[in-house]
Amino acid sequence: MSETSVQDQTPLQGRPTSATAAPEWPLWEVFVRAKAGLDHKHCGSLHAADAPMAVQLAREVYTRRQEGTSVWVVRSSDITASDPGDKAMYFDPMEDKVYRHPTFYELPEAVNHM
């Protein structure tokens, strides 16, 4: 028989055989724009060898159901994030400053649709 059965006996070549053999491709964050005029929104991440591959694979993984018209990718390591440990210091002081919301103004009729 020239073709082996469904359960292949030999390990496939070029395929990681365990989690530890996973490719060491860098991680990329993917941003997809749903339609013209809207912002690109973060929708997930993926592994790719370089930027062009990341764009292609983002198209494959994150736009399969017509989610997008444009894709951005950014190396995850290029993103500088705030430290979760600073959360209290950074964000809690804003809790009692409701006057920063523009909810105390009467809007004229002409701008009713703000």
Binding site: E3, D8, W25, A49, R64
Partner: protein, 273 residues
Amino acid sequence: MNAAAELPRLHITPPVQYVLRLADTCLIHAQRLAEWCGHGPVLEEDIALTNMALDLVGQARALLTLAGQMAAAPGGPAWDEDQLAFLRSEFQFFNLTLVEQPLRRSSAHAPGGDFADTVLRNFLVSSWLKQLWQALAASSTSMLADIAGKAVKEARYQQRHNADWVVRLGDGNEESARRMAAALLRAWPFVAEMFAHDGVDDAAVAQGLGPARQSLRAACMDEVGPVLAAAGLQAPADSPFVSTGTLGRHSEHMGFILAEMQSVQRQFPGGRW
């Protein structure tokens, strides 16, 4: 109930065979790619391979529907896409022999499971399909022109995605270059059939259905050549061998892939889910 028993005789005229050549190439190529589902080298490419297979299934469905209508007597019953896919015999399939060759699984001719074979075949077939779809956009059969208009975008993307891999691997490290070169040696004998010429091509040209395969060669090779060169690959010299899947005479692998693909319909004729 046996749906097969009620089917009209299938009259495969040259124009019908012309459409089936394309339909079956898409269908069998998709079936081979689908064997990668859940087995891709990385998760992202696994999804990409399945996306490509689904593009091809969509193209095959539309083409099989068209072929069924063309094969029916005026006003008579027609074979539908499922019947054509799952109830025809091996000699009634007319796909390129290249696409029925094993990909993921091993055979006497190939180790199987080598990603190099997959990206190279995808690249060759999508380059060919792209030229064919472009020409078919001007088909005198409006349904075929419509199918081509949609499919050409899919072929264009598949060509780019796989050309990228061919160059990455061919121009990669020593091991990947060796494997790409071996994959090219395995695939190349089947390329001649993509540009072969016979009475079916003549009939298609005569009624404005579509181009002769021969006429696609120059444009196709103009795109394949530079990619192979960028990958550091050398196409083997042409040989007199021309495979004959498009004539209904297949390699030894065709029976196995049909047996698997058709087993459910054969076991439960007319079954739906």
